[in-house]
């Protein structure tokens, strides 16, 4: 005699799968939509005293990132540019840590020095 799975369980699993697929599609479409009106840059993330910095430079070494200091930030000669990321979209920074090379998509740059970048999407490279 075969053990038949109750129909209600199958329906529940199917419904869950459908919802997961819907959530995934929603996220993907949101990602594409959010990237439409954006520009992107590649750089390194530095998390320092609660602030997320985005630094760019040709020869950025891990030691440079470890010795990063916010004091006299604008005078640092190790990097080509140092900016502060504004995370208004409440993007998850899970899995991203200091020293990671990332690509960011942004919609606005506030031109104080250091610049403040409104980040829309962030991707670890």
């Amino acid at each position: 005699m075969k053990n038949r799975i109750p129909k209600s369980i199958i329906n529940t699993v199917l419904l869950l799968l459908f919802l997961v697929a819907l959530w995934f599609l929603g996220n993907v479409s949101q990602l594409f939509a959010s990237k439409e009106n954006t520009e992107s840059e590649i750089g390194y993330i530095v998390m320092h005293e609660g602030i997320v910095y985005f630094i760019q430079g040709k020869d950025v070494q891990q030691s440079d990132i470890e010795s990063f200091s916010s004091v006299n930030l604008m005078y640092l000669n190790k990097f080509e540019s140092v900016s502060i990321l504004i995370n208004e979209s409440k993007l998850s920074m899970k899995g991203i840590k200091s020293g990671d090379k990332v690509r960011i998509w942004y919609s606005e740059i506030l031109e104080s020095s250091p610049a403040k970048i409104k980040v829309i999407c962030i991707e670890k490279l």
Binding site: N37, N77, S113
Partner: protein, 351 residues
């Protein structure tokens, strides 16, 4: 004899203690006793009912409803003022000729430490669109350039930065709200110094500490682009106000700026680093796009130029440069324009 000895010992103890405390006092840095110029900022958004309510550096609110009708005279611009600047040789000669004792109250030029030039790397400018059209301002001692000010900022978290601002009153400077309050953290600057008309790292009109500032409440609550402007209140230097020495520019209310020629002058970090000295740079161009509160253009700018005024052909302030935007896939620079709401706010802050 014993009494004398013990009295002498006590005296010695007292003197030693006095010297000890004096020594400790000398070891303590003076800035321990100096309060930050600006108190820590606290703001309760529930107490604000209008996006253009004025919030000062203490978090106190002046209601928009209370000041919007102050402009009943239907003015739409404020006057400019030609500063006395440096006393010219002719004036000095004439004073000597009349045998009057003369005390030059002009704040002496301040040499700005050339820290920026220590960076020999050229920064990749983010927002130079096409070929770089910015040129150096050779003479910053004449209007409108004498009013364009370099601002050094110190944030409560210990970081520092720079912005540009424009003198629009004797002791009032127009700049961006994001130069004084971080909308994300709702934290303000702890101190700031303003240097009008800087060239070759020299502040020809002295330096002025920021005593207070006014920011629209909606900037603090939402970080809204349209309300990214602020008015700084400066302390006098040597009993002389910045605007008296350097002069100040008038503001003008505008509805439309499309196709109007505007100039943006300020202190861009990339060119300052490349040149090795703090100098003023700028460019003129047309407004190519606008909405009710923002103007967009392809005039080249860079970090450090936030807060630069948008100057019309008569060098009146018709907006404030903020940064770059991606509009329909194109990079454009832009900032809030002096619409009626902004004009009411700024003219109120001038009083």
């Amino acid at each position: 004899m014993l009494v004398n000895n013990s009295l002498g010992g006590m005296k010695m103890k007292k003197i030693t203690l006095k010297f000890f405390f004096m020594f400790i006092f000398l070891l303590v840095p003076m800035n321990v006793f100096a309060e930050d110029q600006l108190r820590s900022f606290t703001f309760d958004s529930n107490e604000s009912s209008h996006p253009y309510d004025m919030v000062n550096s203490k978090g106190e609110i002046i209601k928009y409803e209370d000041f919007k009708n102050n402009n009943l005279q239907l003015i739409n611009e404020t006057p400019s003022f030609q500063g006395t600047g440096k006393i010219s040789p002719v004036q000095i000669d004439s004073l000597i000729f009349h045998s009057k004792s003369f005390i030059d109250l002009t704040p002496s030029p301040v040499i700005i430490e050339d820290n920026l030039s220590k960076n020999t790397n050229e920064i990749t400018p983010y927002i130079v669109i096409g070929e770089d059209g910015r040129t150096i301002v050779e003479n910053t001692q004449i209007e409108p350039f004498s009013s364009i000010s370099y601002i050094e900022l110190n944030w409560a978290d210990g970081t520092s930065g720079t912005c540009t601002g424009t003198l629009i009153g004797r002791n009032r400077v127009l700049t961006n709200a994001h130069c004084v309050i971080d909308a994300g953290t709702q934290r303000g600057i702890s101190s700031a110094t303003v240097y009008p008309g800087v060239s070759d790292s020299t502040g020809w009109f002295g330096s002025y500490n920021v005593r207070d500032y006014f920011v629209p409440s909606n900037w603090i609550s939402t970080g809204s682009t349209s309300e990214d402007f602020a008015v700084l209140v400066l302390d006098a230097n040597n009993n002389r106000h910045a605007g008296d020495a350097a002069g100040f520019l008038g503001i003008r209310q505008v509805n439309n700026l499309l196709n109007e020629n505007v100039g943006i002058f300020g202190y861009p970090g990339d060119l300052i680093r490349a040149g090795g000295v703090v100098s003023q740079f700028g460019m003129r161009g047309n407004v190519t796009r606008e909405d009710t509160s923002l103007a967009f253009y392809t005039i080249d700018t860079a970090p450090g130029q936030s807060g630069s005024a948008l100057l019309n052909a008569n060098n009146q302030v018709v907006g404030v440069h903020r940064g770059s935007y991606i509009v329909n896939g194109n990079t454009m620079n832009g900032g809030p324009k002096m619409n009626s709401n902004m004009f009411n706010f700024v003219s109120q802050a001038l009083q």
